[in-house]
């Protein structure tokens, strides 16, 4: 295996996005002036992934959902348990899908990756639901 990182590695100029002026402006202003469309796509990607600003917005949404989850914990004791669990599961599933789709780039990558991951996740849920049902956990 070749040791490609044994020496100082300059950036491949062909992969650097935008013009030199745009990169300088980005450094000066501290903001991303280079569109995410101009970023070199990673192997396996079909579409450009979100910009840093969009990532921050997604994180804000995740924080709001987390706050809602914690808020449900403080619902009164007479709140229907089935509804409580349903709300929590929906919120957790939403966070799960958002992180997988946007942060893990499943939404922008080849479907092959999605198939592998979903197979594992759904397979695990099905398998252990059957095991737990067999052991009468849900009764």
């Amino acid at each position: 295996m070749s040791d490609e990182t044994s020496i100082a590695t300059p950036d491949d100029p062909a992969l650097l996005p935008g013009t030199a002026a745009e990169r300088a402006a980005e450094d000066a202003e501290g903001m991303s002036v280079i569109s995410s469309d101009e970023l070199a796509m990673l192997p396996g990607e079909l579409r450009p992934h979100p910009s840093p600003f969009q990532y921050v917005m997604i994180a804000v949404i995740l924080c709001v959902i987390t706050a809602l989850e914690v808020g449900t914990y403080y619902l009164p004791n007479d709140f229907p348990r089935a509804l409580y669990i349903t709300i929590l599961m929906v919120l957790a599933l939403t966070k799960f899908v958002i992180v997988a789709a946007f942060f893990m780039h499943l939404r922008f990558d080849r479907p092959l990756f999605r198939r592998f991951f979903v197979t594992g996740a759904i397979g695990a849920i099905l398998l252990y639901t059957i095991v737990l049902a067999t052991l009468h956990v849900f009764e």
């Binding site: 070199a40 192997p43 396996g44 990532y55 957790a92 893990m104 080849r110 991951f117 695990a124």
Partner: protein
């Protein structure tokens, strides 16, 4: 004997945007690098791995002896909410680190990578504090089925987070030695996939173990 070269097979997952793919296509049959594919296969297996421990906890839920600490006696939801928030923010900083290395912004890459490791370390510190508090309140690995299933599940998750922190610090060190360039973005992406998965698992654990009574 003349050597024949195999022509790359058509991409079975080719979509309408393939005409725009330049650097997004690897020289493999799937169009994805083996490294990235291997990480996704590994994460798929990790779903089943963690599913086993989560289902074990669910199996033993409510079956601990009454004279041993119960979940409602030991859980500190506000504290765990804060550590969960830290792990969530670490996912954001991880993805910002990837965006930075793709732009060739090595300074910001190092900042975001170190931030990710720091958030992860804060999470681990919170877990250690929580474990010691539980132990102080009488819940140990051998106390009851609740204790063993809880500590094994969260301990293994914590071990995964620790491995991720070491991985991130290694990448940070490589960047400081100028050994990471834009062309190595995939290395960061693969590390990011592992880190986001660890966050995803905690999303499930926090909901199923802590929030559902």
């Amino acid at each position: 004997m003349a050597q024949t070269e195999l022509e790359p097979t058509p991409l079975h997952d080719a979509g309408p945007d393939d005409a725009h793919i330049v650097h997004g296509h690897a020289d493999t049959n799937t169009g994805a690098t083996n490294t990235k594919l291997a990480m996704w296969v590994f994460l798929s297996s990790e779903c089943i791995f963690f599913g086993a421990f989560i289902s074990t906890y669910l199996l033993y839920r409510g079956r601990a002896p009454a004279n041993t600490p119960q979940p409602k006696d030991v859980y500190n939801i506000p504290f765990t909410s804060v550590t969960s928030f830290m792990l969530l923010m670490s996912s954001l900083t991880m993805v910002l680190a990837l965006a930075a290395i793709q732009r060739g912004d090595h300074r910001r890459f190092r900042i975001w990578t170190m931030s990710t490791a720091l958030f992860g370390a804060i999470f681990i510190a919170g877990q250690i504090y929580e474990f010691t508090e539980f132990y102080r309140e009488g819940l140990a690995l051998k106390t009851s089925v609740f204790g063993s299933s809880f500590f094994v599940l969260t301990g293994i998750h914590g071990a995964h987070v620790t491995v991720g922190i070491i991985w991130l610090l290694t990448l940070w060190g490589m960047s400081m030695q100028n050994r990471l360039g834009v062309q190595h973005s995939e290395k960061i992406e693969v590390a990011g996939l592992y880190w986001h998965f660890v966050d995803i698992v905690w999303i499930v654990i926090f909901t199923v173990i802590y929030l559902i009574p």
